[in-house]
């Protein structure tokens, strides 16, 4: 009969292999056939607080514009902005109101408007219309987001948010 330690030694490489396979499958699961699916998948990953999942929908050349500010690289977005987007998604609901798609070949655009509702930390309700421009690019068999631009119909909220963010 195989000892527990010997069994463990045998099984460990198998587990490691299975783990790698599953990890690979998780990454490959982000194969996105339709341009809008990249956008929706990204938002769904934010809502799940799935940092790696959200990044998997983004192209390495991503540039983000928001409320007159920018993240010039995907690394800058991932470090400084993505956590805030996950926090925001956790306390708000984004209801898709309208969407238009266009472009051709490997480069497409997805224009979306969302009604965003929720509550700010100070208890005030969030109820705004978020406008989103997403440019997606097909690389291989999958679309990835190369540009996002968000703006809102509530100017005071933008100003308040930027004041908070720029505070030292």
């Amino acid at each position: 009969m195989m000892s527990r330690s010997a069994w463990s030694e045998r099984v460990r490489p198998l587990l490691a292999t299975a783990s790698l396979a599953l990890a690979g499958a998780a990454v490959c699961a982000q194969s996105v056939k339709l341009p809008a699916d990249a956008v929706d998948g990204f938002h769904a990953a934010l809502k799940r607080k799935d940092t790696g999942g959200a990044l998997s929908y983004l192209d390495r050349g991503l540039v983000v514009f928001e409320f007159g500010k920018m993240d010039a690289t995907i690394e800058a977005y991932a470090l400084s902005h993505l956590p805030g987007d996950i926090d925001m998604a956790a306390v708000t609901d984004w209801s898709l109101q309208a969407r238009r798609l266009g472009g051709g070949g490997d480069d497409r655009w997805v224009l979306s408007t969302y009604r965003v509702t929720g509550k700010r930390p100070d208890g005030k309700p969030i109820d705004e219309v978020m406008l989103e421009t997403a440019i997606v690019r097909r690389v291989g068999d999958s679309f990835r987001i190369v540009h996002l631009h968000w703006s809102s119909d509530k100017g005071d909220l933008q100003t308040w948010g930027q004041t908070q963010r720029s505070a030292p």
């Binding site: 460990r12 587990l15 490691a16 299975a18 783990s19 790698l20 599953l22 990890a23 998780a26 990454v27 699961a29 990953a45 799940r48 607080k49 799935d50 940092t51 790696g52 999942g53 990044l55 998997s56 390495r60 983000v64 514009f65 928001e66 409320f67 500010k69 920018m70 993240d71 010039a72 690289t73 995907i74 690394e75 800058a76 977005y77 991932a78 470090l79 400084s80 902005h81 993505l82 956590p83 805030g84 987007d85 996950i86 926090d87 925001m88 998604a89 956790a90 306390v91 929720g118 700010r120 930390p121 969030i126 968000w150 909220l157 308040w160 948010g161 930027q162 908070q164 963010r165 030292p168």
Partner: protein, 156 residues
């Protein structure tokens, strides 16, 4: 004279601002502290987070697998974690060869961490790579995004 002086100051300020913007565009994330960036309205953090910069990686084991790396905290208000404070936390690379890959922390010292045996090797990670380490509520994350992790998250 005063107008000339004010105009010169304004031009100098704009030059400095342009230089800062150029630095921002060219810099890695670690240099972004204090610079205004894009973002939604601030809300309470949904996750506890730690951000770190890789300062080195451990030696490969007999199977050439690397499971440890050294790091320094980066970002505002970020301090070195206590021993095993990050045990069970999710690690996502946000810069470097393993960009976007998610692993799970087995244990840590204030400047070194070890990932689980079942996670991929850290081979390929280099000094300067950036880490996002997050404490999840295991009930709120989709099982598929956690790979084969059947164990409940261990919280210190």
């Amino acid at each position: 004279m005063l107008l000339t002086w004010i105009s010169a100051c304004a031009r100098a300020s704009m030059t400095v601002a342009a230089l800062l913007l150029a630095l921002h565009a060219a810099a890695g994330p670690a240099r972004l502290d204090g610079i205004q960036i894009a973002g939604h309205d601030p809300v309470d953090p949904a996750l506890r987070r730690f951000t770190g910069k890789v300062t080195g990686v451990g030696q490969p084991d007999k199977t050439d697998r690397v499971s440890t790396l050294r790091f320094d905290p980066i970002g505002p208000d970020m301090v070195a974690p206590k021993p095993d404070e990050l045990r069970g936390w999710r690690l996502t690379f946000i810069k470097g060869k393993l960009f976007g890959q998610t692993l799970w922390i087995e244990g840590n010292t204030p400047n070194e961490l070890t990932v689980r045996d079942t996670d991929p090797s850290l081979a390929g990670v280099v000094e300067g790579d950036i880490l996002m380490i997050e404490l999840l509520d295991p009930n709120l994350i989709a099982p598929t995004s956690r790979g084969n992790d059947d164990e409940p998250q261990r919280v210190v």
